[in-house]
Symmetry: C2
Subunit: 96 residues, 2 copies
């Protein structure tokens, strides 16, 4: 399924910047970083739960905000963009 | 329909910080700011086109990135959250 994960963290502190780097590195294992703190993810239920568990181990729950939205089927391809943003391919290797 | 708008802008420049403030003020007319640069929006096609036209007039298309995702019906209520994030009510006044 197509997911969108957004992460709000205070990057003016070294600790916050470090957490963002760690969450970004983690999310890049499941999808693509499309903005500084926005990640497009394609994952099944099992991988989604695994991802959330790993995020729980990184973030400061008193300071950081994580939001994970489920998009419609192929919703990541359906994004409207402005400025430097571009739709990102996620399923190029899935030619059936 | 439920929409999610994400905005990536360099806020280390006064101009970028100003554009973010302007986009935030604009989006708050259509929905809720749930993270620093993430906005939950409920709008029909007409209002969505109007919003995008107004955003075009604010952003620097060479520097800024806007992504607008369409969520499933009631997708905003379906968000999974971690840390300080909370689901936000958008339709409390629509008791049928």
């Amino acid at each position: 399924m197509d997911l969108l994960l957004t992460y709000d963290v205070d990057t003016t502190t070294p600790e916050g910047a470090r957490r963002l780097r760690r969450v970004a590195k983690l999310c890049e294992g499941y999808g693509l970083r499309v903005q500084k703190s926005v990640f497009e993810i394609v994952a099944d239920e099992k991988n989604t739960l695994q991802l959330l568990a790993r995020i729980d181990a990184i973030i400061d729950t008193n300071l950081d905000s994580i939001r994970l939205y489920r998009l419609p089927h192929n919703g990541l391809a359906d994004v409207q963009t402005r400025g430097t943003a571009r739709p990102q391919p996620h399923r190029d290797d899935l030619v059936i």
